[in-house]
């Protein structure tokens, strides 16, 4: 263990008198401004506001060796009751430290399996709202071309894009979906250029899997679908809806582990729509061109089917092509 770390310094603000609350430590590989980790951070903070946990965090831990060092440091000297974060690109480091501290629950965003006794995994399973958003996009397009700008073809993005395509197919089997990836989680300017290219290629509805696309939609004056949080405010006349990830159910599950002892479970289902882990933001009918009443109704019906379990969105994690003819899907 890393000696000398004592943790005697406190941040000085208000944290006293919360001894009985579990301390959850958030460890993020990217800066908090990145939406994925931002969603986890937001959920943890909402738990703090609800008075259920005490929370500390560190972000931008961007190499595997730093991740391992940081986790070991936290586990050995900060007495956390649970550690949450994302393990992408540092899976081995996280699993190694988790094994060294079997009494502390580790819950990490990960594409791999949980490990006994204390390593749980979660992920953003947004295929449900993605499917519904696809239905809207399919219903709104007049040119029958829809543009998607994603980060990179990794499973969590692929399954969202593929579900989106399936949703389109339900309302518009004629459509073509153009998919481009900006190859980084983070380059709004590039995302905007990619979106502009879609518009130039005839797309009249966009899906902003990444930041930057909404600005392009605003300029082209076409509807766009947001991501992670409700982005309606960003362009009230253009954002028709957003895929929202609610991490709170996952956080609550981790808090339970913090209180009752660690477990090794896949927390992925806590992101499903029917447990409140994800959601389609209220449909903004004030959007340019409006949203037909029957389309809204169709989506609401599907939403209900998902909620009651009568419809399960297919999960497909294969990389989507750059230009998809929906009818052949």
């Amino acid at each position: 263990a890393c000696g000398g770390t004592t943790g005697e310094e406190t941040t000085g603000g208000g944290g006293e008198g919360t001894e009985d609350l579990p301390l959850i430590y958030g460890v993020f590989a990217t800066p908090l401004e990145e939406p994925w980790d931002g969603a986890i951070h937001a959920a943890l903070q909402s738990a703090v506001e609800d008075g259920t946990i005490e929370y500390k965090h560190v972000d931008n831990v961007n190499t595997a060796d730093a991740m391992e060092r940081t986790l070991r440091n936290i586990a050995s000297s900060e007495q956390p009751d649970a550690i949450m974060g994302d393990a992408f690109a540092a899976e081995e480091a996280v699993r190694k430290v988790a094994a060294e501290f079997p009494d502390i629950p580790f819950a990490f965003g990960s594409g791999e399996d949980p490990v006994e006794p204390n390593m749980s995994v979660f992920d953003n399973w947004l295929q449900d709202p993605a499917y519904l958003a696809g239905m809207i996009a399919g219903g709104l397009t007049e040119s029958d071309v829809i543009g998607v700008v994603g980060a990179m073809p990794i499973p969590e993005v692929n399954r969202i894009v593929n579900a989106f395509v399936q949703g389109i197919k339900e309302t518009n089997p004629e459509a073509t979906v153009k998919v481009s990836f900006i190859n980084t989680f983070f380059d709004p300017a590039a995302a905007k250029q990619a979106a502009n290219a879609h518009v130039a290629a005839g797309a009249d509805v966009l899906f902003a899997e990444r930041d930057g696309v909404i600005a392009a939609a605003e300029e082209a004056d076409i509807p766009v679908i947001g991501m992670m949080v409700d982005q309606e405010e960003e362009a009230p006349e253009h954002v028709v809806t957003s895929l929202i990830w609610h991490m709170r159910p996952t956080v609550d599950a981790v808090v339970e582990q913090a209180e009752n002892g660690p477990a090794a479970v896949d927390l992925g289902e806590y992101s499903f729509m029917n447990v409140g882990g994800s959601e389609l933001a209220p449909i903004n009918t004030d959007v340019v061109g409006g949203v037909p009443e029957d389309l809204v109704q169709q989506v609401e019906e599907k939403e209900a089917a998902i909620m009651d379990g009568s419809f399960t969105t297919p999960v497909d994690e294969s990389a989507p092509a750059g230009s998809i003819d929906v009818s052949r899907q």
């Binding site: 401004e33 190859n183 250029q193 290219a197 290629a201 930041d211 405010e233 960003e234 750059g322 230009s323």
Partner: protein, 299 residues
């Protein structure tokens, strides 16, 4: 192949604009013999302060002004390090870039704690495009004012002669009564302002918001463009256009059915490969400014 040429052209101009602003800023600085690797940080800081002030004051004009001031300050900081103190220009520039990026990200975190603030819609008039090529006015300024203006100043004014003399042979400049260090200070300040405008273009004109990593290596591309251009104005613009054309083309190709099976990375590498190829074809032996990377000290 259904590539929309006009759209590609428009996209290209937008992509090229920050490169032209910052590239010409770097050109002016390098003409005096100073390599400003602080460009990436200066663009970043311009993007950030421009956005921040525009957000706080509600006026993009104040934002642009703030970006310009930031660029001037960053340029002067580089001047103190590399001109007055005569430090190694590589280290000064890289250090400045690190410092500026970290400082902006820190401030952003302290002010917005992970939030994603966005500029108001009331900037519509400012943000909207000028007809003809549907570009932002800063794009027109870059191509129609900045580039020809810089070219003219360097070619046919006393200031241009001075800059050239300082960059080529600072002892000769000193003998001719030109203050080497004052010239370098001025070039760094003005060049910094242009770099910062290039950065602010991304937040104020392209996105209307600020996100981390917004410059994403565009500053380094500018460094390459200036050498590629052999320290001449029009080739910088040309290089920026080559870069932008391939970048815009890449986006168009990626969603074109015929090309959608080509790995995207191949497409993304196009702009870099294009500039290297252009250099290999046209860019024989480069004559560096005579006082490149050298600090001047009077006896």
């Amino acid at each position: 192949m259904s590539i929309n040429l006009l759209a590609a052209l428009a996209a290209m101009l937008t992509v090229a604009t920050p490169l032209v602003w910052a590239g010409i800023g770097e050109l002016i600085v390098e003409k005096t013999g100073v390599l400003n690797l602080g460009i990436e940080g200066t663009m970043y800081a311009g993007a950030f302060t421009g956005f921040l002030v525009a957000l706080r004051t509600g006026s993009p004009w104040w934002g642009l002004l703030a970006a310009i001031l930031t660029g001037v300050v960053a340029g002067l900081a580089m001047a103190v390090l590399s001109v007055t103190l005569g430090l190694n220009q590589h280290v000064s520039g890289l250090g400045l870039t690190l410092l500026l990026i970290a400082g902006c990200e820190f401030t952003f975190r302290m002010l917005y704690a992970g939030g994603r603030p966005k500029l108001d819609d009331k900037f519509d008039a400012w943000l909207s495009d000028v007809p003809v090529l549907e570009q932002h006015w800063l794009t027109y300024v870059a191509f129609l004012v900045l580039a020809p203006g810089t070219w003219w100043v360097l070619r046919s004014t006393g200031l241009g002669y001075r800059i050239h003399a300082v960059g080529e042979n600072f002892e000769a400049a000193e003998v001719a009564g030109i203050s080497v260090n004052a010239t370098r200070y001025a070039a760094l300040a003005v060049g910094g302002a242009f770099m910062a405008i290039g950065g602010a273009f991304l937040t104020l004109a392209v996105l209307g918001s600020f996100t981390l990593n917004i410059i994403n290596g565009r500053g380094w591309v500018c460094i390459a463009l200036v050498i590629f251009a052999k320290w001449r104005v029009w080739p910088v613009v040309l290089g920026a256009l080559i870069f932008a054309v391939t970048d815009a083309l890449q986006l168009q190709l990626a969603i074109t059915t015929a090309f959608s099976d080509v790995p995207r990375e191949v497409m993304l590498a196009l702009p870099y490969v294009a500039v290297i190829t252009a250099l290999a074809v046209w860019g024989r032996k480069v004559h560096y400014p005579g006082s490149y990377l050298k600090a001047y000290r009077r006896a």
